[in-house]
Symmetry: C2
Subunit: 244 residues, 2 copies
DNA sequence: CGCCTATTTGATCTGATTCAAACAATGTGG
DNA sequence: CCACATTGTTTGAATCAGATCAAATAGGCG
């Protein structure tokens, strides 16, 4: 069953990276599936599963990750409303990583067959998904460049820049502030850092006057400066809308 | 094992991850384009380019990489004959990373339009490419897991395992040895390590009796052990053929 | 042989981890 | 509304994996 809003998160998200026609939009918003609400810190898909449906995020914050034998977690990406973090399960039987919630989330589980059918009927939608997958890969590469070759505070600055733009692209950020639902431990897992070091690096960014925060709310005081420290260049996100 | 040497590298490569029909194979091997030979250590595509053709590797070793403002290089992936490292340029105008040769290479530059046409005529070939892109992403994730969360010798062990299997899948490795055309500096750039540390970690793997090497030739003395140290599980490569 | 590029070794330094404990928020149930 | 538990943030000190610097070998190869 599905509800009907003016614009579903999926349409809004694809809109930010691809020009859709009216017909394509309405087809997308009519995708069938079952809605499920999942508490924070729970797995949606687990490494080695072979799901027959994929999950569209309606609300919440989700991540993809993998755990080392030594029990260390590496987060690969964060996902927001409109994303389908396990779209790849459409073409790859076994999934090679887990997907878990960060915050309580509302997800729409869409049968693979429905997505395939949609792609057959609207080849440009397939193109949009393909494009999204490629952008996903580009984000990975930026991530890897940071983890492999940049210092802690620079990685963090980059992550904050990226999240800000992505959230703004889907209407979840204000002019220069947004809700950041990540703990410092989660940031560390994403960037290959210890919690302690994330904490000290954040303090440094604050001391430099680049950011400020109160509770979950993060304010960007100096976008230019933050971008520079993080060596952030938004091109790789391939967003359609221009950037502040 | 099979002995079809008349096939092109591309067919051989896709064969290793996807079941192609005879008609699809011959269409693939008839892809047009211009062959160019490129010396070692030269760029094929540069970050921010917007190429109108993509390059199929016929011979040689190629990598994708990006460089930090501080001048540090991070290699994202290595590519071997049959790979099309910049296939993504088909759907993403601007390329977000550079592609460069490691060894002297022979490349076939195929116009985007020819690939698009092929995908239209043979949708299953499009599926195969899509699948290849997804596997590429899976390789990235493994890579990132290592760089972010594993120790140096473990990352190296993992890389060696991966290269061995991939090379064997396309017929470029023997039972337990292969030509490894990488310098220690390049391994470092791939794994986020300094040359010196790569050297010492390799010595450690040798001392453990896991590998041996003479010149460019690398021998795997203890596959089990190497896999364990690297926490290597080949599932993510999604190779069709079973593994030793 | 001599040149250039890789590998190896040694010594030193440092960014980041780890361990440990205090502190702040937030939430829970009585 | 308070005591208490829980989870996240912050601080401090000790330690370590890996970086950096510097210089000595060892291979290839024209």
């Amino acid at each position: 069953m599905h509800g009907h809003r003016a614009e579903t998160p999926l349409v809004g998200k694809l809109d930010s990276i691809f020009a859709l026609s009216g017909e394509e939009r309405s087809a997308l918003s009519r995708l069938p599936g079952s809605i499920r609400e999942i508490a924070a810190d729970h797995d949606v898909v687990r490494e080695r599963d072979a799901p027959t449906e994929c999950c569209l995020i309606l609300e919440g914050f989700v991540c993809r990750y993998k755990v080392t034998d030594a029990g260390k977690r590496q987060i690969f990406s964060f996902h927001t409303p409109g994303d389908i973090p396990d779209l790849q399960s459409l073409h790859l039987e076994v999934i090679d990583h887990s997907v878990g919630t960060i915050t309580p989330s509302k997800l729409l589980f869409i049968p693979h067959e429905a997505v395939r059918e949609l792609c057959r009927r609207f080849p440009r939608i397939a193109d949009a998904f393909w494009r999204d997958t490629l952008i996903d890969g580009a984000v990975f590469r930026q991530w890897l460049l940071g983890v492999g070759r940049k210092e802690a505070h620079s990685r963090i600055a980059h992550l904050l820049c990226e999240l800000f733009l992505r959230l703004r692209a889907i209407g979840l950020a204000e002019e220069s502030a947004f809700e950041l639902p990540l703990t410092q431990a989660e940031i560390g897992d994403a960037l290959g850092l210890s919690t302690v070091h994330v904490n000290r690096s954040l303090q440094r960014l604050r001391a430099l006057g680049l950011i400020a925060s109160s509770g979950r709310r993060l304010m960007i005081r100096d976008w230019r400066g933050l971008s520079e420290v993080g060596e952030f260049d938004p091109t790789y996100l391939h967003l359609i809308k221009a950037v502040a």
